[in-house]
Symmetry: C2
Subunit: 150 residues, 2 copies
Amino acid sequence: MDRENIGLLLAVAAARGTSAANHALRAAPGVVAALDARAYSVLEQAILGDGPSQRDLAGQLRLDPSQIVALVDGLQDKGLVERRRDPADRRRYAVAATAAGLEAYAVGRLRIEDSLDDLLADLDPAERTTLHNLLHRIVRPAQVGAGTRE
Amino acid sequence: MDRENIGLLLAVAAARGTSAANHALRAAPGVVAALDARAYSVLEQAILGDGPSQRDLAGQLRLDPSQIVALVDGLQDKGLVERRRDPADRRRYAVAATAAGLEAYAVGRLRIEDSLDDLLADLDPAERTTLHNLLHRIVRPAQVGAGTRE
């Protein structure tokens, strides 16, 4: 597979990462076991972002808006996030984590980090940082529209 | 998004790559326009691999065997690959590109490379090589079973 294109390498590496993350989350205690990697990523972005809208989330995670709505609904049903009206723009709802969501994120994060350690086992810390930075620079252009209000 | 986990970065980068590849292939002439990134990857592996079995392909591409069967069926219907009985193991079929498959791969490859140039526009050649090598080392463990016969 030495000459395969980098798009395929990205796809296969991502599939391995998602599979490892799903496995790690399923083994976690409590409500975290009911999250898959996508739902966890939405929760993560709700916490790391500054009250993202659903449109922001769709741009950040490269998912269809309808997928985001379903994922936010699922997290809301579990009491992990809530939709809050944006005081600066009353047509816009921010997705914000609840206290239970912050706790679930903390639990999930440890599991995810363990699964990433396995995925990246052959890379030393400097190489992991390099990979992170290179991927970040590929992903960043997707966020040009992330400030768009819905 | 500065603290997001590398699994998410991989997933978003891969989604961008797949989307760009699908777009590039749809704009290609002839039968190539009927391929998506997954079908193209199967064709690529049939050419770069040494007559992979369907099980090999499933391992290399991290897809379910049933997905591989459907993708190989689609490529075979288009006259791009054929299943050949392995003389060394008559229970095993190798997936091999036809002359038309080799031609489609050559056309698709140029399109895919252009789309990857766009995806990786912010990275210089040395950084692209680094990314390729790091991803390859993440993906490689998936191929431990690639020599397994089906």
